[in-house]
């Protein structure tokens, strides 16, 4: 499927959530589920394996998700499972997040750090980013042990602020090779 077509389809999904008045909840559910898949390779393999029946996959998803999750979330995930396009969950989540924050005129970003940041640090990072970007930002904090140290901020518009140790080491490596 072409990307342009996908965005068009995702727009419809987002509008559906908007009509139901649950766009924030829907985005949060999709984002959390997508992170769950990204962080668990085994689960990703399970979802994308064509030999496993769609019904079993749907049952497992239903059991994993806590009560109170929207029916729109299940309808979309089940539809992707039925179509054998489970790999599209992440791009669906990304597209819905982008759409939601675009409409709110907020810059959305993900902060990756080696260990969990406390509230004080989180606020500090948010303030710093708002200053740099010149607009309201919404950051979600995730853990990435491969960074070695420091942190990296990836905004949805493609902008990256990487002050991780991993990045610096790579730069150092590149300069030595030169």
């Amino acid at each position: 499927m072409q990307k342009g077509r996908l965005d068009l389809d995702y727009e419809i999904v987002y509008r559906e959530a908007q009509i139901a008045g649950i766009e924030d909840q829907f985005e949060d559910e999709l984002y959390s589920f997508s992170r769950l898949i990204q962080n668990n390779y085994e689960f990703k393999l399970f979802l994308e394996d064509p030999r496993i029946s769609a019904d079993y996959k749907k049952t497992c998803v239903r059991r994993i998700c806590p009560a109170g999750m929207s029916s729109l979330f299940f309808a979309n995930i089940n539809w992707l499972i039925d179509q054998g396009r489970e790999e599209l969950v992440e791009s669906l989540a990304k597209s819905v997040t982008k759409k939601l924050f675009q409409e709110k005129d907020i810059l959305f970003g993900e902060v990756f750090s080696v260990c969990e940041l406390n509230d004080k640090y989180r606020k500090k990072v948010s303030r710093a980013m708002e200053k740099v970007e010149g607009k309201t930002v919404n950051l979600r904090f995730n853990i990435d042990s491969q960074l070695v140290g420091g942190l990296a901020v990836r905004f949805i518009n493609g902008e990256v602020w990487d002050i991780s140790l991993k990045h610096r080491l790579e730069e150092l490596k590149a300069s030595i090779i030169e």
Binding site: D28, S32, F33, L36, N40, F46, C60, C65, P66, M69
Partner: protein
């Protein structure tokens, strides 16, 4: 962020299940695409593929096995041919091509595969039916003797069509072929006849206007449109009439009456010719393959009237053929003429002269004849044939002579009146009881001394007046299907009274 507290528990269960999984070895035939292009794919490695079987390619596109050769099978692709490439794998499905059928399709526009193309959502069908199916056996049929009213006076009176009949509509382009079938569809409203219109190789714009016209008149409720426009691959154009027929058959075997229109079979034959040439089948006359007759005969033979033991359902088929310069002796027209139970020949000259429907009564025929007419119409129609024949004979004679005897003048006037009464506007089918009344008046000379130009006005006014003042005249025909001398007297008196009033209109 949402928490997933039971995630680890479920993941453990999945791990457990995976560790218990035992792989089974299953031998399967996997074909390989060796050549693909122009909607045709050559596949090797499927020695057990059957003719007409569906083949699934790795890209998800389906194909239909057409040729079984020593080393390979050749399939026509039922989708985008660019998505099948050399080296793709292919599997036999073990199924022959089927389409969705049943009431859920009513009011919908579908393609040759039965998939909706009207943007009104998915169709969840009651059941599926194979597109290729043997025609009912002789023992399962009964003679055609129930009329299928087209609502067109000329056809219902002179070329009657019965339920279960195959009547060809043939004529040049823009001679009013499609208008006849649209009128026929409109006339089936409230008569429990399901109509299926199969558009093969038509312009999409024409199909859109047809759908609009049917929707506006409330005829889509009992109609299915199978659309294989000129932009569709030849494979879908080839399949569309068979798919439409499968949908009609479902109604027939459920004991209901169906009317199917193939618009048109000359384009269907051209699509089949294209496929056959690409499949390298030997070309015959006009480059059509040798089995083009069988293509249409097996399709049209499925139209029939089933016996009471089989439910008594019927399929009436109205195939359309477009001729070039009125040449009905071309290959496909002669084939279809010989297959069908009669033809309605539309003449461009008549059309241009303002006679609409432009049916050439001389070359048109219905082999079912008066059996498929209600008794009232049967009584009148024999007189119309004679009057019209005399009129045509005298008309050519009158061109050379100015002095004519009184009887000839009467016959000429009667003919003119009849020709005028038989004219009918588009999209205005007439109920049979009204047809009987108007044709009765014309044949019995009630309209002889009438100004021809005012006849259409007279007709519309008279029918509305009759409906309002003496509806029992029409009711008697619709109930008894026949009339007697008392009815004739009543109508005679009524028309004379109306004529007096009409003078002042």
């Amino acid at each position: 962020m949402v928490d997933f507290p039971s995630f680890n528990k479920v993941l453990d269960e999945i791990r457990q299940k995976v560790s218990e999984f035992k792989e089974e070895v299953k031998a399967e035939e996997v074909g390989l695409v060796t050549e693909s292009g122009d909607g045709i794919a050559h596949v090797t490695g499927l020695p057990h593929a059957m003719a007409g079987e569906m083949i699934r390619f790795s890209s998800g596109v389906y194909g239909l096995v057409f040729n079984l050769e020593i080393e390979e099978v050749i399939c026509i692709l039922l989708g985008s041919h660019t998505s099948v490439r050399e080296g793709d794998t292919a599997h036999c499905t073990g199924h022959i091509m089927s389409v969705p059928v049943g009431d859920k399709l009513l009011g919908r526009v579908v393609n040759g595969l039965g998939q909706p193309v009207d943007g009104r959502g998915k169709i969840i069908p009651d059941r599926y039916r194979p597109v290729e199916f043997p025609a009912p056996a002789v023992i399962d049929r009964q003679p055609v003797d129930r009329p299928l009213q087209t609502g067109i006076k000329l056809i219902d009176a002179l070329i009657p069509i019965g339920r279960g009949q195959r009547e060809l509509i043939i004529g040049d382009r823009s001679s009013g072929k499609s208008s006849i079938v649209i009128d026929t569809i409109l006339n089936q409203k409230g008569k429990d006849i399901v109509c299926i219109y199969v558009a093969v190789g038509q312009k999409s714009s024409s199909v859109v206007s047809l759908v609009d016209a049917l929707t506006e008149k409330g005829a889509m409720d009992y109609t299915i449109i199978v659309d294989a426009p000129a932009s569709d691959p030849a494979s879908l154009q080839y399949l569309a009439p068979f798919s439409g027929c499968a949908m009609a058959e479902d109604f027939m075997y459920c004991g209901r009456d169906a009317l199917i229109i193939y618009d048109d079979l000359s384009k269907h034959a051209a699509a089949y010719r294209m496929l056959s040439l690409l499949l390298r089948r030997p070309p015959g006359r006009e480059a059509y393959p040798g089995d083009v007759f069988y293509l249409h005969s097996r399709l049209l033979e499925r139209a029939s009237c089933l016996s009471e033991q089989k439910g008594g359902g019927s399929i009436t088929a109205l195939p359309i053929i477009e001729t070039q310069m009125g040449d009905i002796s071309a290959y496909i027209p002669t084939n279809i003429i010989s297959i069908t139970d009669g033809q309605i020949f539309l003449d461009t000259d008549l059309f241009n002269a303002g006679n609409r429907p432009a049916v050439n009564v001389g070359t048109s025929v219905s082999r079912v004849g008066g059996v498929a007419q209600i008794p009232a119409m049967r009584k009148i129609s024999s007189r119309i044939r004679i009057d019209m024949a005399q009129y045509r004979e005298k008309q050519s004679f009158a061109l050379f002579s100015t002095e004519l005897d009184k009887e000839t003048l009467i016959q000429l006037q009667r003919g003119k009146v009849l020709a005028e009464v038989l004219k009918q506007k588009n999209y205005s089918p007439m109920p049979v009881e009204e047809q009987v009344v108007m044709l009765y008046l014309a044949t019995k000379g009630y309209l002889d001394n009438f100004d021809i130009k005012r006849l259409q006005l007279f007709e519309s006014n008279f029918i509305s007046y009759l409906k309002a003042e003496m509806p029992q005249i029409l009711d008697e025909i619709s109930n008894k299907k026949d009339f007697d001398s008392a009815w004739e007297q009543k109508l005679g008196k009524f028309v004379l009274a109306f004529k007096e009033k009409f003078k002042n209109v």
